[in-house]
Amino acid sequence: MTDEQTNETLLEVDAISLSFGGVHALVDVSFDIRKGEVRSIIGPNGAGKSSMLNVINGFYHPQEGTITYQGQARKQMRPHDAAAGGIARTFQNIALFKGMSTLDNIMTGRNTHMSKSLFWQALRIGPAQREEIENREFVEHVIDFLEIQSIRKTPVGRLPYGLQKRVELGRALAAEPTLLLLDEPMAGMNLEEKEDMSRFILETNDEFGTTIALIEHDMGVVMDISDRVVVLDYGRKIAEGTPEEVRANQDVIDAYLGVSHD
C-alpha cells in the first residue's frame, strides 16, 4: 500500500510443480507479486506455502515451471543469485546463528554488500576497516528501526522467542532487500508482539518500498496488512485476489472450514 506501488510485476511464478519422490508439494501454481505490494500466501497446514518460498529463493528446485524475477526468466533460482538479486527472507522456525551476537547476526545480512579480500580483513586497515564501519552504520539504522539497541551484543541464543523473530527480521532487512519473504513472522507471538511486528512490516513496506511476500496463519493480520492474497491447498492454488474477495470465496471457506472468519 505504498505510494510507490505500481502495477509493475516484480516476480512471477508460472506453472510451478515441485515433488519429492512421489509426494507433490506444489502442483501447477502460478501467481505474481507486484512491485511495492504486500502479498500474502495463506492456506492450511501442509498446503505448500513454505515450499513456495523455498522455490522463490532457490532452496528447492521445481521440476516444472518458470520463475521470472525482475524481468529475467529462469527454470529455477540459486540461493546465492536470489540473495544477491535482493531477495531476503525469514524462516518459520527461527534460523538465527545461535553462537553469534545480535549485531553479528544482523551483520551477516550485509554479506552480499561486502567484498573486501581476506588479506585486507586480516590486517583490518584501509578499505576493509572502512567497509566494516560503513556496514556497521547501516546495521545500526536497522537496530534503531527495530528498537533492539539494548540487545546489540547479546548472544541470540539467550533472547526470548519474540526478540529472536525480530532479530531475524533485522538480518533480512540489513540486506536492503527488494523482495522480502516472511515465513510466519508472527507465529507463537502474543498480541502486543504481533502488533509490533505488523508495524515493522508495514513501515518497511512504506518507508523503503520493499515488496513483501508473507505467509501467515493469523487471518486478522493477513486481512489487515495485505494488498493481495493467494490461497494454496494441497499444493494447488485455489483462490487469489484482494482480502475481501478471498474472504468471500467458497473454496477458501471450505478449505478452512470456518477458520477464516476469526
Partner: protein
C-alpha cells in the same frame, strides 16, 4: 573494582569495533606481549625453549589453525598432523631449492602450499558433513604421511628417510639447528605466532569470520541469506591449513630440527591438536593459547609428580597420562564445552561485578 567497563564510552564505531574494546583487556594483552618479547628472552635456556616455550607456541599456532576450521566454521578435521607435515616438507624442499630465500618467505610459501592441499581435501565438505567429513580428513592423514614416507623426492632420497633442517640465518642471526641460541629460536617463533594470531583475530571478527560462523551455526540458513557454502568452507580450509602449515614448518625447522614423518605427524598428532582446542575452547583465539599451555604443561607436571615424586617408572607414567588426558577431555566436554576460554570469560564477568555480586 579493577575490571570495569563502565565509564569507557565509545563515541565511534572504530572504537567500538576495536580488537580489545575494554581498556583492561587491551593492557593485559600488551603486558603479556611485552613480557614475552622483552623479558623472557633474557631468562630463556635450552630446557625452557625446547620443553615448554617452543612446543607451546607451535601447538598454539596449529590449534589456532584447527580452531578456524572446527571452532569457527564447524568442520571437524582429523588430518591436522598430515597438514603440519605438508608445511614441514614444503619448507624443507623450499630451503633446498632456494637456500638464500628469506625464511619468512619460506614460511609463508609453506603455508600457501599447505593451504592448497587443504583446499583439495576440503572439496568434499560441500557435499558431506559431520563425521563423514572427519573420515574424509582421515584420508588426508593417512595418504599424506604415507606419501612423505614412501616418495623419496620429498626427503631428498636420503637413506634414513628423515629430513633435517639446514642452518638458516634470519637477517644474520642463526635461527635453526643446534647452533641457534634458544632466545633466537624463541623470538623468531614468537614473532610469527603473534602476528598470525592477531591476524586471525581480525579475520574472525570480519565478514569472512561471520560467514564461517554462520555456516557452523546453521548452514542452510547461511546459504539462503547469500553466503556461498563452498566459498566459505574452502576459505576456512585454506586459512586453517595455512596456519597449520606454518606451524608444521616451525615445528620441523625451528623446534625439532629433524623429523621422521610416521612418528612426528601421525594421527596422534591430529588428536593432540584437537584436544588443545576442546580444552582451550572451540571458536576462540585465546582458547588455542590456553589449551596449548595446558596440554604442554600438564604432562610435564604429571611426569614430575609421578616419576619424580611417586617413583613410577616412565612407561607407567605414560599410561596414566593417556588415561588422565582422556578423562580431562570428557570432563571438559561435559562441564564446559567451551573450554578454558569460557572459564576465563566467566571469571572476567564475575570480576566486572565485583565486589557487588548482583
Amino acid at each position: 573494582m579493577f575490571y570495569r567497563e563502565s565509564g569507557q564510552l565509545k563515541s565511534s564505531y572504530i572504537a567500538d569495533q576495536a580488537m580489545f574494546p575494554i581498556a583492561q583487556d587491551r593492557w593485559f594483552v600488551i603486558g603479556v606481549l611485552a613480557v614475552a618479547f622483552l623479558v623472557a628472552p633474557f631468562f630463556i635456556n635450552e630446557y625452557w625453549a625446547n620443553a615448554i616455550l617452543l612446543p607451546f607456541l607451535v601447538y598454539a599456532l596449529a590449534a589456532l589453525g584447527l580452531n578456524i576450521l572446527t571452532g569457527y566454521c564447524g568442520q571437524v578435521s582429523l588430518g591436522t598432523g598430515a597438514f603440519m607435515a605438508v608445511g614441514a616438507y614444503a619448507s624443507f624442499k623450499l630451503v633446498g631449492f632456494f637456500p638464500e630465500l628469506n625464511f619468512l618467505i619460506v614460511l609463508a610459501l609453506s603455508g600457501v602450499v599447505t593451504a592448497a592441499v587443504g583446499m583439495i581435501f576440503g572439496l568434499p565438505s560441500l557435499r558431506i558433513k559431520g563425521f563423514y567429513l572427519a573420515v574424509a580428513t582421515l584420508a588426508a592423514q593417512f595418504f599424506l604421511v604415507w606419501m612423505f614416507n614412501k616418495v623419496g623426492w620429498f626427503y631428498d632420497y636420503n637413506l634414513t628417510g628423515m629430513i633435517t633442517v639446514r642452518p638458516i640465518d634470519f637477517f644474520g642471526i642463526r635461527i635453526t639447528g643446534p647452533e641457534a641460541t634458544p632466545a633466537a629460536k624463541y623470538l623468531f617463533t614468537l614473532t610469527v605466532v603473534a602476528v598470525l594470531a592477531l591476524s586471525a583475530k581480525n579475520i574472525v571478527r570480519g565478514r569472512i569470520g561471520r560467514e564461517w560462523m554462520a555456516i557452523r551455526d546453521m548452514d542452510i540458513a547461511a546459504e539462503l541469506i547469500g553466503i556461498r557454502p563452498l566459498q566459505a568452507k574452502l576459505s576456512a580450509f585454506a586459512v586453517s591449513s595455512f596456519y597449520v602449515g606454518v606451524a608444521g614448518a616451525l615445528y620441523f625447522a625451528v623446534y625439532l630440527g629433524s623429523v621422521e614423518p610416521v612418528e612426528a605427524f601421525d594421527i596422534n598428532q591430529s588428536f593432540y591438536v584437537l584436544f588443545i582446542i576442546i580444552i582451550g575452547g572451540l571458536g576462540s583465539v585465546l582458547g588455542a593459547f590456553l589449551g596449548a599451555a595446558f596440554i604442554v604443561l600438564v604432562p610435564i607436571l604429571l611426569k614430575n609428580i609421578m616419576v619424580g615424586g611417586m617413583g613410577f617408572d616412565s612407561g607407567m607414567a605414560g599410561h596414566v597420562e593417556i588415561l588422565l588426558m582422556g578423562l580431562l577431555i570428557i570432563f571438559f566436554l561435559i562441564v564446559e564445552p567451551h573450554g578454558l576460554a569460557r572459564l576465563w570469560q566467566i571469571a572476567k564477568e564475575k570480576l566486572r561485578l565485583w565486589p557487588f555480586p548482583h
